[in-house]
Each structure stands twice: as C-alpha cells, then as structure tokens.
Amino acid sequence: MLTRLLLATALGALAAGTALAQTPVKIGVLNDRSGVYADLSGEGSVVAARMAVEDFKAADKGLKVEIVSADHQNKPDVGASLARQWYDRDGVDAIFDVPTSSVALAVAQVSREKNKAFIDSGAGTADLTGPQCAPTTVHWTYDTVALANGTGSAMVKRGGDTWYFLTADYAFGQALQRDTTAVVTKNGGKVVGSVKTPFPTSDFSSFLLQAQASKAKVIGLANAGGDTINAIKQAAEFGITEGGQALAGLLIFSSDVHALTPKVAQGLVFTEPFYWDLNDGTRAFSDRFAKLSGGKKPTAVQAGVYASVLHYLKAVEALKESGDGTKVVAKMKELPTDDPLFGKGTIRPDGRKIHDMYLFEVKKPGESKNPWDLYKTLATIPAAEAFRPLNEGNCPLVAKN
C-alpha cells in the first residue's frame, strides 16, 4: 500500500515519467490565433484546456496529457491539413475547439476518416450534428439552431415580426440565417430580405442602409466576432435603433460586448450558453482564468473547451486508451456530463451536447459596474427546448437507430 502511494506521488511529480503503464493522451487545440475569432477562442482556449487537465488531476489518474495548439487562420484547407499532420505525424488523439464552421466541417471529415475524436466548441453550424454528423464528432457549446431558437423566438414574441438579415457569406452565416428563418416563420414572423456580406467586412454602412430601407422591424446579424462588432458600432452611428429598428445579434460573445462597451451595445438581445457571472461555479472558474489571461474573462467557447476536455479525459480514463476516436466518443456519450460551467448534461447519439441556454440582454452603461459587468439574464431556455430535436437533424447515426 505504502509503495503504491509512493509510486503514485512520484508519478504525479514526474509528469513525463515513463515508469508505469500511463495512458498517453495528446490533445490538439485548433483555432483562430490571429484573425477575427482569436479573442473568443485563441490562446484563451489553450489556457482553458490546460486548466481542465490540471483540475482533472490527470497525472494521478494514470493519464499523461500533452497539449498542442495551432492557428487554422479561418481557412478550411489550412485546418484540414493541420489536422491530417497532427493525426498522421504528431500522434494527436483528439482535436478541440475549431471555431469557423467551414473549417470545423473540414476537420470533422478528416477526423472521421482517421477515426479520431473531434470535440468542437467554437463552430456554429448545426450541420455538424445534422447531415454531416459522425461517430467521432461531439459538438459541445452551441449551434445555429440553438441560437435561432433563443433569439429568433424571443424577438418575434417582443413584436419583431419582420426580419432583414445581414449574413456573413460562408457556411456559418448561411446556416444561421436558414435556422433563424425557420424559427421566425414558425412563430408567425416574416423575412423581408437579406444581404450576403463578404467575410470579413469592415464597412457595413452600405448593408445597414439596405436593411434600413427594408423597413424590417428586426435586423438579424448572422455573423460573428469582428464582423458583428463593426456592424453594431456602425448601426449606432447610422441611428438604426433610434429609427425604431431592433438589432438581433445572432451570435454574440462576451469578448465582443466588452470591446463594444455597453454604451454602444446596450439593449442588444442574444442567446449564449455561458456567462462568467452566472453562478459560483462560473465565477470561480472565470477568476482563475482571468489571472492566467491578463484579466480577460472567458467566453462561452473557452468555457466549452474547458468542460469538453474535462469530459473527454473522463472517457479516456474509463477506457484506459485514447487512440480509437469512435470508442472514446461512444464512451463520452455513455457517461453523463457534469462540470461547474454547464452543469449536468448529456451527449446525444448525434454528437450534440445538451445543456441550458440563456437569453441575455446587454446592460445599460449605468447598470454596468465594471468593464466585464455586461449581461443581465432575461430567461433560461431549458436544455430540452434549446436544441434541435434529435429526429429532425437528418443525422444518419440517428436514422439507423
């Protein structure tokens, strides 16, 4: 007994120790490290992954975890070739995060082909667990359907029954517009028009003017990151909201609102699965995270990386191996999820992680007490209602069951 205890301690100290049968696990965090999504994912996601490994006490549980990271530059070809290189040459067992839907879809294909686990936090497209679902994919944090459900129906219920979309012209924007349109029409609203904006765009004035001319009550921003920031900033300048039109941010992160400041973003309504100031668990995590990231609070994407790495390690610990992606993901679906950030939840057969979503509103400048005091919670959308029903996603994995 004493020897075993001593051995365990020695192993804990020597993270690189090779003495006993430790299961090696190599995690790759693949995201945008220099472009428009670098603040909502980027280095923060790597920090979150490291915190998860630390909190899991991986070394004590016989796992030898190594984390690598890379920049996919928001380009599907770059992302796919990095994934290939990681799997083939560098012995990576699982890829995490991957914002930018077009890149995520490409990496999902590579992971399936190589039978490695792909646990996405940053990307939006619900196709990852829909027609393009794979036995190796888990989609953790949010998706376009959940965003559309939350914000779309809330806006229609508030009287915003005519919509005009500013849509980022790539997989994510199109998926978001499609899914929001479905929710808006289901709730009795109407879409009067849309414009596809090149990704990324810095000047939205022309598109905003077209939206203004449409007289739609709601202008839906089917974009993300820097695009959304520019669009909201310029909408304020052109007096869009003063003119009686409401902006609906279909994908907003706390890093965006922080950059915009409540003065510009006040009153904006949107859906997110996580906010640092939700409860004691999120606050404790966020304080630790902020200390490691120059004072920045974590975004939902970074929180998702933390929680998903934690759950992944649980599955690997149970299996005592990490090489077979299908097996690991099957184990992840079998085990219930439980973490301080998203609470208790499950992963469905199609790979969709299920948890509550929240409808938030940006505080007015007077209500915000510090630069990160940004949201107030309007409503909690229960897990069961937040996501697309399992049988409506056209996922082949579900059809077979």
Binding site: S34, G35, V36, Y37, A38, D39, L40, G42, D169, V195, K196, T197, P198, P200, T201, S202, D203, S205, S206, F207, L209, Q210, Q212, A213, G225, G226, I229, N230, K233, Q234, E237, F238, G239, G243, S255, D256, H258, A259, L260, T261, K263, V264, K296
Partner: protein
C-alpha cells in the same frame, strides 16, 4: 418612384455617398503609398500597419494622456510620422540601391512584426473609440440618414488630398521632390539634400496613413488587423491609378470607392473582389495604370 435595375433612385444616392466615404480612406492611403513609391521607389507594405498605428495612437492619447479626437488628429500623424522617419533612417535607407523586391520584403516583414506586437498586447476584438461629441448625430437627407462624422471624413480627406497635391505640383519644395524623383543625382549636384528629402517624404507618407487611421478610429473597430484588411485593396487602387501617380491615386481612390459602393447594392457577394477584377482589366489594357507613364 424611379428605379434603376430594381433599386430605387434614392437608395442609390445613399449608396453612392457611402461609396465616396469609403473612397476617402482609399484616397488618403493610396496617396501616401504613391508619394513614397514615386520618390523612394519603395513599395511600402508597412502602410497598413502605420494606418493601424494611427488609430491606436489616437486611442492611447485618449486613454493615457486624456487628449481627445482633435488633438489626436494632429498628434497621431506626427508621432507615427516620426516613427516612419526612424524606420527610414535605420532600415529602409539601406535598400535604395537594391531591387524593389528587397524593400517589399522588408516592409512586409515589418508590418507583420508590428501587427503581431499590437495583437499580443491588445487582442483582436478591438478597442472602443467614440465619435467626438461635436460630430455625433447626423443629418436626415431626403435619401438617407448621413451621420455628421461620415460627412466630416469626406471633407477632411478631400482637403488633405488637394493640399498635398498642391504642395507637390505648385510649390518649390514640390518641384524639388518631383525633380528628385526624376533624377536624384542631378538634383543633388545642384546642392539639394536628397537623402533628407527622401526621409521627410517617407515620414509624410506615413503621417498620411496615420491620419487616415485616426479618421477611421471612431467608425471602424480599432484592432491590430484593421490595416491588413484594407492595405491589399489600397495597393490595387495604386496599381489601377498608376504606381507613383499622385493625381491618379486620389482620383482612383474616390472612384473605386464609388464602384465598390454600387457593387454592394447590385451584387454584394462580389464587393470584396470587384476592385481586383477592375485591376486585372486595367492592367490588360493599360499596364502602367490609368494615370501612369509608360517607361
């Protein structure tokens, strides 16, 4: 209501005006590039980074020194211009005798380093910078709501462009500059300090970029990538106008802003590529650009 290809006339006016505003940024930036290329024969790829630095210096002046927009409009170009002078003296001056390619590689590398440093320090989400209170609000024109600030951008950039053009075309200093472009050795023989002239020209071109950066700060997100996004378009503008042609860069800057504005109405998906399509067409017909001299 009169419509053109299904777009109401009034909406079209609004879009043309917006195009003109974007054209203002293109014009100031391409003007600086054209001056630097015309005189120094350096393809200044750092221009985008210097534009970004202009916006960041405006933000720093406000947050660290409490100096507002109007001060920034004067001080930021001077500060960034001085940075340009140092850069020219330390590094760029050593490349004049070499091929264009070396200047391009050096300035491109510098741009990456500068952007990387800012990204490391400030992240990519951008920093808030408000429109000065004197220029907030807007005018309700018959065809659109024009924010006062955007009107100011057009006026300010027109004034700067015309003033620069006048200095270069109508003053003695401008005559030296043009002569030095033509034949530096001969001008030096007349007792003009050509190296100093080159340094100051580079500093001035950089200051123009910083000026555009300050103009952009209240309307675009102030982030380290803002220059990288716009610089490629501005290079296309310079190529279309004719490398080194002062008037060409101003006229093309505004014109391409208008064309881009129209594209955003009729075929928005192509609005980020239309300028490059025009560039290809122009180069096929006039390889030296619209206003360029054929060697």
């Amino acid at each position: 209501m009169i419509t053109i290809l299904g777009v109401p006339m009034q909406a079209l006016f609004g879009q043309l005006l917006l195009g003109l505003i974007n054209g203002s940024f293109y014009a100031i930036l391409s003007l600086g590039l054209a001056i630097i290329f015309g005189l120094l024969n350096i393809i200044n790829f750092t221009h985008g980074a210097q534009y970004m630095m202009g916006a960041f210096v405006a933000w720093m002046l406000l947050n660290y020194a409490g100096l507002g927009y109007w001060w920034a409009l004067i001080l930021a170009p001077i500060i960034v211009g001085l940075f340009g002078v140092i850069l020219e003296r330390l590094l760029i001056a050593r490349l004049y005798k070499l091929d264009h390619l070396y200047g391009l590689l050096l300035t491109f590398g510098l741009a990456l380093i500068i952007q990387g440093l800012f990204r490391n320090e400030y992240g990519v989400s951008g920093l808030p910078y408000a429109i000065p209170s004197e220029l907030s609000g807007g005018q309700r024109l018959p065809f659109m709501f024009l924010p006062n600030y955007r009107g100011w951008v057009v006026v300010a950039s027109l004034v700067v462009c015309i003033a620069t053009w006048l200095v270069i075309e109508k003053t003695k200093l401008g005559a030296y500059l043009r002569a030095a472009t033509e034949n530096p050795t001969l001008v030096q023989a007349f007792g003009v300090n050509v190296p100093l002239l080159l340094t100051l020209t580079y500093g001035f071109g950089v200051a123009l970029a910083a000026f555009a950066g300050v103009l952009a700060a209240p309307v675009y997100s102030v982030n380290p990538n803002m220059g990288a996004d716009i610089i490629i378009v501005v290079f296309a503008v310079v190529v279309i106008g004719g490398m080194g042609s002062i008037l060409g860069s101003i006229v093309t800057g505004f014109t391409l802003g208008l064309i881009e504005g129209l594209t955003k109405v009729f075929y928005p998906e192509a609005s980020s590529t239309v300028i490059f399509v025009i560039m290809v067409l122009v180069l096929l017909v006039k390889p030296a650009g619209l206003f360029g001299r054929t060697a």
